[in-house]
């Protein structure tokens, strides 16, 4: 019976308290004992705990004894709030009927509040708005309730008020979940259709799929077919997440859980695919997911050339757990064999790199991130250029177009001028100004993606003291005056540092990069000229002077062990270097060099 099931995602702008609210729901329903409780329990990845943000959506099933005397099965999904991970949110929304929209009582409606609300509306979900952090002295629940009501409709009185920290209002919220979210549909006797909304690779069990059963029933031992790839398998195990994995005999309509088939052939498992049973197969798969469109591209290369195959394997496995990651092999003259990867943003790029390094024990260098350009050749042929290397020579090039995005920024009204100034500097074209309330303005711009993808967000935050937020979506390509800037180390172009950039900013990039590299590249046995060039024209130049001294003054009886250890440590440090031609470049330089400050 599905009438006592409720499926919902918790959505919000970053840091508005989704994961903390999930903690309270787990605690209040007894899914976790007080002893096992820790803050943001569902943020179980090391990276999530270190950074204090959610990166992966996490599904949990809890049981709630409601005031009506019935026990309800609640399947909740905690989602990330950062704009780079909105694909995680979007996927979770197809596995639920409701969305709990959390809004920070001190911050009010922010960009991802809006963006995620629209996603939920598009997915046809029932939205229950909740104002969180009412325990804080700076909370303005009434004002924020008005704001929320104005974007989703309804009255401010319908907006629940809670503190995920103190637990205030959680009981009322649980009742509202039962009362206001619809029960899922679906018939247990229909052919099985289960949506794969996430997956990961387990070293021992192989691929684990997270599924939401829409119709029919899936039991342990059933023969199943993955409809898009045609893969035939057996359900070795089905279970639920409490949040621990717990085996169950079967999952019925409306229920979420996991499925293990023992398949090792990981490219035949796709998030968004529909699982059906072979004995009574469904004819139509579920709609599935739109492939996310990568926004930024960057090369990932193993420091040790031998690790190329391990990197391929790691990417394949990571992709199971991060469907928004795309990659294709790439060769770099400086860095050897690697992959050109597509990411949803710079944070996403950073996280992928770190997960690969940590979870798969790889040492990686990454190259200058780039957006995808459209290059029209003199032959009329149009190329998508995802890497500066692929840009045709100037004489073969008829024109370049760059991607634009529509940027929606939300800011308190006193910052409108500041925000507009920043957008203007980034070649933005003003769209609409929209007052959500007298204090809060939505400012829309069309801006080249390349201008916002790098440090725009940091700039926006710092210039508005953290009060502005943004969201963006692609709006197509426009012609642009672009140049390819090459960086030469010791006369050799290092493709990893090349970039395509607006002509007016080429000099700033070139001189910033050469200065940066001069600081990052340690002095070596010879002078190392560092040049930035457009074609054969050098636009900036620095030199790393040859090292002149590499000796410790004293080494006597008392210093020998210490001195030896010091030398050995320094030697270890050298392993974190990559040879580029005859120049040793620290791995970190590939990352740090790209952090050019806005000037």
């Amino acid at each position: 019976m599905t009438t006592r099931i409720r499926n919902f995602s918790i959505i919000a702008h970053i840091d508005h308290g989704k994961s903390t609210l999930a903690d309270r729901l787990l605690e209040r329903t007894g899914a976790i004992t007080a002893r096992d409780m820790k803050e943001q329990l569902l943020d179980s990845m090391d990276l999530e705990r270190e950074r204090g943000i959610t990166i992966k959506a996490r599904a949990v099933r809890i049981l709630y004894s409601a005031a009506d005397g019935e026990t309800y099965e609640l399947n909740l999904i905690d989602t990330p709030g950062h704009v780079d991970f909105s694909y995680e949110v979007a996927r979770s929304l197809d596995a639920v009927e409701g969305a709990l929209l959390v809004v920070d009582a001190t911050q009010g409606v922010e960009a991802q509040t809006l963006a995620n609300t629209y996603l939920a509306i598009e997915a046809g979900l029932e939205i229950v708005p909740v104002i969180n952090k009412i325990d804080l002295p700076a909370a303005e629940p009434e004002r924020v309730a008005e704001e929320v009501a104005s974007i989703i409709g309804g009255t401010p009185e319908e907006v629940l008020q809670i503190s995920a920290k103190t637990g205030e209002g959680i009981d009322e919220l649980l009742e509202a979940i039962v009362a206001r979210f619809p029960a899922p549909g679906g018939n247990p006797t229909d052919p099985l259709r289960a949506l794969i909304f996430d997956s990961y690779f387990d070293q021992y069990r192989g691929v684990v799929c997270y599924i939401r059963v829409m119709d029919g029933t899936l039991g342990k031992g059933d023969a199943v077919r993955f409809m898009a790839t045609g893969l035939l398998e057996h359900a070795d195990e089905v279970g639920i997440l409490t949040p621990e994995a717990v085996q169950v005999a079967s999952l019925g309509p409306g229920e979420s859980g996991y499925l293990i088939t023992g398949v090792k052939d990981i490219d035949l498992i796709r998030v968004g695919d529909t699982v059906t049973r072979t004995d009574r197969a469904a004819t139509e798969p579920l709609p599935g997911y739109q492939e996310p469109k990568p926004m930024v591209f960057s090369g990932l290369f193993p420091v040790e050339g031998d690790d190329f195959e391990r990197l391929r394997d790691a990417l394949e496995k990571l992709r199971l757990n991060d469907a928004s990651l795309s990659y294709e092999p790439e060769t770099s003259a400086a860095l050897g064999f690697g992959f050109r990867c597509g990411f949803l943003g710079l944070l996403h790029m950073e996280i992928v790199r770190e997960r690969l390094e940590r979870e798969y024990d790889l040492d990686l260098v990454s190259t200058a991130p780039s957006v995808a350009y459209l290059a029209t050749q003199v032959t009329g042929e149009v190329l998508e250029v995802r890497s500066p290397q692929d840009l045709p020579q100037p004489n073969a090039l008829a024109g370049i177009e760059e991607p634009y995005v529509k940027v929606m920024m939300l800011a308190p009204s006193e910052y409108v001028g500041t925000v507009m100034e920043l957008a203007q500097q980034r070649r933005g074209i003003l769209g609409e100004l929209n007052y959500l309330s007298p204090e809060r303005v939505e400012i829309d711009y069309e801006i080249p993606l390349a201008e916002i993808v790098f440090d725009f967000f940091d700039q926006l935050k710092s210039r508005t003291r953290g009060y502005a937020s943004l969201d963006y979506e692609p709006v197509g390509y426009r012609p642009a005056e672009l140049a390819k800037v090459d960086i030469l180390l010791n006369g050799q172009p290092v493709d990893a540092f090349s970039t395509i950039i607006h002509k007016d900013k080429a000099y700033v990039y070139g001189s910033g990069m050469t200065k940066r590299l001069q600081e990052l590249i340690p002095r070596q046995m010879f002078d190392i000229p560092i040049q930035a060039a457009i074609g054969s024209r050098v636009i900036a130049r620095e030199t790393v002077k040859a090292k002149r001294k590499d000796v410790t003054a004293k080494c006597y009886g008392g210093d020998i062990s210490r001195k030896r250890k010091l030398l050995e440590r320094q030697k270890e440090g050298k392993k974190r270097m990559k040879m580029v031609g005859s120049v040793e470049v620290p791995n970190d330089a590939f990352i740090d060099a790209l952090k050019i400050e806005d000037s």
Partner: protein, 376 residues
């Protein structure tokens, strides 16, 4: 090296200083002078706890500032060593001294008590630099040190100099070296000022104060080498120069991976492939000895290929290099060594590894220490 092993050296540490210099990371104490007598009793006790060794080839009483304590305490240590182990004929017995502590009377007393060599922490002949280094003496006091010491009976006199502090101009350093030469020592050590962890200097630098500059130090090093070798001193180790026959025997032995005993706070010894070190906290040192135990803080066994690599990394600091055929062979095949060989920073000839440019000794040492044993 055949038959009898070379006689062992011996290091004795005297940690007491008037105050701690900003760059110093030795085991020192300031403001604990009330412990001096107790400390010397402990030293003598520690000497009796050391297992038997043959007569000592050299003794080095360093610090700290040994010259601050009463001469009879110092000469008692020499006597204690002689009683326990014996000293070979003509053994070098060095005392480290700060110029402000020196007087003809003290010098005579120490020479009579068995010290044959004195090494002064002269550091600079520029009062501005001395002040920056936190030293308590003036340049003028340095002029007579050498003559006074010889007159008192010291057979060998050495001056330590430090270059590359922030306030030192190239001219100042040039003058320091010239005036040091004019003072007529038998031996000169020139040390690049180094920012050691945990020192006042490292805190200042971390807080944004200008630290030593590698290029400035390379220039000054080159100046020192030119002036000193031009004046007849042999550049026998990275930082050391001596008139022929006046090389420091105690240090020569440690660079040759010889054995040396060690007594006192934080002292390091090396006997038969075992390195041991003493505790570095003075109260612990005193209490342990007074309870009848050795104040050992740890040991490390250096054997086989490891010992051979260590011998090579120490040996390349000497002008004559080190004869180590297996290490030399491995080094000749090493990819990283290639660049250094090509740049003529060092050479390998008949199994001898020798620096051509001592300023790159660590670059070679790092490669040496990373070499795999033959057949691995």
């Amino acid at each position: 090296m055949t038959g009898q092993p070379d006689p062992a050296g011996c290091y004795v540490h005297v940690p007491f200083c008037a105050r701690v210099c900003p760059y110093c990371d030795f085991a020192v104490v300031a403001g604990r002078d009330e412990l001096i007598d107790r400390y010397f009793e402990a030293l003598l006790a520690e000497i009796t706890m050391e297992p038997e060794a043959g007569p000592l080839g050299s003794v080095f009483v360093g610090g700290g500032t040994p010259s601050r304590v009463r001469p009879d305490l110092l000469t008692a240590v020499v006597a204690g060593l002689r009683d326990r182990f014996g000293l070979v004929d003509g053994a070098e017995v060095t005392l480290e001294a700060n110029p402000e502590d020196w007087s003809p009377e003290r010098a005579a007393q120490l020479a009579r008590g068995g010290f044959s060599r004195v090494s002064f922490g002269a550091q600079s002949f520029d009062d501005g630099v001395l002040a920056e280094l936190g030293r308590l003496h003036r340049a003028v006091e340095l002029e007579r040190l050498v003559d006074d010491s010889r007159a008192a009976g010291f057979a060998s006199v050495s001056l330590d100099l430090i270059f590359g502090s922030w306030s030192e101009s190239p001219e100042s350093w040039h003058a320091t070296v010239e005036r040091a030469i004019a003072a007529g020592p038998d031996h000169v050590s020139t040390y690049a000022l180094t920012v050691e962890r945990g020192t006042e200097l490292s805190r200042q630098v971390a807080a944004g104060a200008p630290g030593p500059d590698a290029d400035d130090q390379a220039d000054k090093y080159t100046v020192a080498v030119e002036l000193l070798t031009g004046a007849g001193y042999v550049h026998y180790e990275v930082s050391n120069f001596a008139r022929p026959g006046h090389e420091c025997e105690y240090n020569r032995n440690t660079w040759a991976q010889g054995d040396y005993l060690a007594f006192g706070l934080g002292a390091h010894g090396h006997r038969k492939g075992v390195r041991r070190r003493n505790v570095r906290r003075i109260d612990a040192y005193l209490e342990v000895i007074e309870s009848g135990q050795r104040p050992e803080a740890g040991t490390e066994h250096i054997t086989g290929w490891d010992a051979e690599l260590e011998r090579a990394f120490l040996g390349i600091r000497r002008a004559e290099g080190v004869e180590a055929p297996e290490v030399a062979a491995a080094l000749a095949d090493d990819f990283e060594a290639e660049g250094l060989l090509a740049a003529r920073k060092f050479e390998i000839q008949n199994g001898v590894i020798r620096m051509l440019d001592p300023l790159f000794t660590d670059a070679v040492a790092r490669v040496v220490l990373g070499l795999a044993a033959p057949g691995e």
